[in-house]
Symmetry: C2
Subunit: 285 residues, 2 copies
């Protein structure tokens, strides 16, 4: 097997395995807090075939639960030719339209306004070049409360650990990238309390880059479990709920106006339900 094909196989298998872990862990939490726990519903989708040639597809997993009002975990592996408007904008597409992309994307909107919304996404992309990208960021309802700051501190601390293991300069760089990326220029405000974001990661040591990407997924999951545990018993009132709906409206604005993942999905004719799974169960303006 060619090295790049092995890398494609390893990475896509990992995204699937991580998806299974995430769904299992979230279902466990639902099980503890509900006598009739919701389960993830899984739907697969295929990209339209180009003649007899397959173009890949994905699997959406969606839960609407008591703790996790709406949580979506998508994996997909898509390939084929990029539309002309995208050529040159993505590395390694000057001479060839071919692309291959596999990844996982998770967005969790908890029911309680005291449990932060969270997002994690990692991917491996192959054109005439190849690279990893991804990140994780956290969005508490009340960005200014002491508790939210404490949670964000833990989240950042754990992300810093795996960044430091990968490359001593990585955390500062990826934290900054995250702050710049998850920013709503039209509101002049950050989406949440940050995290890390990276792209075009290719250090010439594929195994190291892959390990880092795996660590992002695992650290996200372990840290979020801890955060849910720390916040699930916190009392909240109608004002907190109102603030949560407000915070979520900004999430919608970011995802529809700015998110590159949304744009990439729409431009590569991805599955619309999967692309928009990140949108909150309720939001208000």
């Amino acid at each position: 097997m060619k090295k790049i094909d092995e890398q494609k196989k390893k990475s896509s298998l990992w995204f699937k395995s991580l998806r299974n872990q995430i769904c299992e862990e979230l279902e466990k939490i639902e099980g503890i807090h509900s006598s009739t726990p919701s389960r993830f519903q899984r739907t697969s989708w295929q990209r339209d075939k180009d003649g007899s040639r397959k173009l890949g597809g994905g699997e959406m997993s969606l839960i609407r639960g008591k703790v996790f009002e709406k949580a979506g975990v998508n994996i997909s592996t898509v390939f084929g030719e990029l539309s002309d408007s995208m050529l040159g904008k993505i590395p390694g597409t000057q001479n060839s339209k071919n692309f291959w992309a596999s990844g996982i994307s998770v967005v969790i909107h908890p029911f309680s306004p005291k449990i932060p919304t969270i997002h994690m996404n990692t991917r491996f992309i192959v054109t005439e070049k190849s690279w990893f990208g991804g990140g994780a960021d956290i969005t508490p309802t009340n960005k200014k409360s002491e508790k939210s700051k404490k949670i964000a501190k833990l989240f950042h601390k754990n992300l810093k650990k795996i960044c430091d293991k990968y490359d001593p300069g990585a955390y500062d760089k990826y934290k900054k990238w995250c702050d710049e990326y998850f920013y709503l220029p039209h509101r002049r405000e950050a989406r949440g309390l940050g995290g890390i974001f990276y792209d075009y990661l290719n250090s010439d040591n594929w195994n190291e880059d892959f390990l880092f990407t795996k660590n992002v997924g695992e650290t996200f999951l372990q840290t979020y479990k801890k955060i849910v545990d720390d916040t699930i018993s916190d009392q909240w009132d109608a004002d907190d709920k109102k603030m949560q709906y407000h915070r979520r409206s900004r999430y919608v604005e970011f995802n529809l106006l700015h998110d590159r993942g949304t744009k990439f999905g729409l431009q590569t004719d991805g599955n619309i339900e999967a692309i928009f799974m990140s949108l909150p169960p309720f939001a208000s303006w």
Copy 2:
């Protein structure tokens, strides 16, 4: 006074007068159905000054009532220089960056899922050319019910009347334009049940074009009053409400992903609260 300056004055005064009529009529309806009726809250905003040069501004009127859960009526008159990225994309901007734009924009999200959401917007724009644009479209919660179809029929009939008065071919053309404009390609569905949409209207008879634009505003208001009257007593249940939240989510998607008004507002550094006033009070995904 130069002819164009007179036209600017007349059109912007009309938008203000129409704004007053709309607010008054909606407040009257609130007054009938509530013992402590909500009133429109008015906020003015100014575009940032370019040195000592004023760049215009606007007034937002927002009501959060019992009948009209959220209704916004914006007027604005803005001017100055277009950003480079917009030049050439707008008629009459090949040789000059100067623009002047005045208009009114109304979006009404009623509380009852039986009363349709409605939108109306008209404007007069001046670059090296000048033209009117605008339209009105209706979005019932349940697009397929007999009642919704009946309402849409009345709405279209009244719009057709004023189109026919302006130009016998206008209704078919503007209805089609509306269907094409208020369409969500990523969902492959229409936003609602249509209406009319027109742009670049300059027939060389400014008075006729202005009269048509005035008629759009007045017909919208009179017809919507009738529609509210016809639907306000209709019973609804939790399923209707759920469908309303769903319909509104598509409204958000359209406004953030596709609406040119939103884009124009963001690109000309318009007031963010005014631009996003069209977004529904609650939506769900």
